[in-house]
């Protein structure tokens, strides 16, 4: 079975949205800053709920934030 990987564009999207801080994104998405750090370093894959919340903070679709690669 091939190794699946989920990439994300959170760092770029934060930059595109006026360099919104990790703390602010965490607060608006309802998680901790540590979780945002873990996501940006590809050390954690979020639940669908958190993924939707993050996409909603940036006003984009889920696939604009997260990409699934095989």
């Amino acid at each position: 079975m091939p190794i699946a990987r989920i990439n994300n564009q959170i760092r770029r999207l934060r930059f595109d949205h006026g360099e919104i801080t990790q703390e602010e994104l965490a607060e608006r998405a309802g998680c901790t800053r540590q979780t945002i750090i873990a996501l940006e370093h590809d050390k954690y894959v979020p639940s669908i709920e958190l993924a939707f919340k993050i996409a909603r903070v940036f006003g984009v679709t889920l696939e604009d934030v997260f990409q699934y690669e095989e």
Binding site: E23, A26, C31, T32, T35, P46
Partner: protein
């Protein structure tokens, strides 16, 4: 988020304090030979931990914390089962040889492993049904 984290740490500190204080009191009660003190202590301790746990669940919304806690619990559970089973078998073997006083300690460890295994199986069935595993 900061307030939630502060709340989380205060709950965590409270839980650790409760466990330490109650463990000390139960240890003291066993030392002085009073079998009636530990029972209300255990009930009160479990009640406090249950209440703080419920409060924690309501306040802490970060899913990563749960995953970290899950992985830590699973590691501790496996570590305990393996080490306790190995120690239990060793003590039982020694107890049936030259050190008969070790046999009861070995049996206690092996029984605790069996009870933990059964509890794990029961909890697995419960959560499997709760999260849609029922056919």
């Amino acid at each position: 988020v900061k307030e939630i984290k502060d709340e989380y740490h205060s709950i965590e500190n409270l839980e650790i304090s409760v466990v330490l204080i109650f463990a000390a009191l139960i240890g003291w009660a066993i030392y002085v030979g009073n079998a009636w003190i530990p029972i209300p202590m255990i009930i009160a301790g479990v009640a406090i931990l249950w209440l703080t746990g419920r409060k924690g669940k309501a306040e802490i919304i970060d899913e990563r914390t749960y995953i970290v806690a899950y992985k830590a619990s699973l590691f501790v559970f496996r570590f305990f089962i393996i080490t306790a089973a190995a120690a239990g078998i060793t003590l039982l073997s020694l107890g049936r040889g030259d050190y008969p006083e070790l046999e009861s300690a070995g049996m206690a460890l092996i029984y605790s492993c069996c009870i933990l295994g059964m509890l794990y199986y029961a909890a697995f069935i419960y959560y499997n049904k709760k999260y849609g595993g029922k056919e």
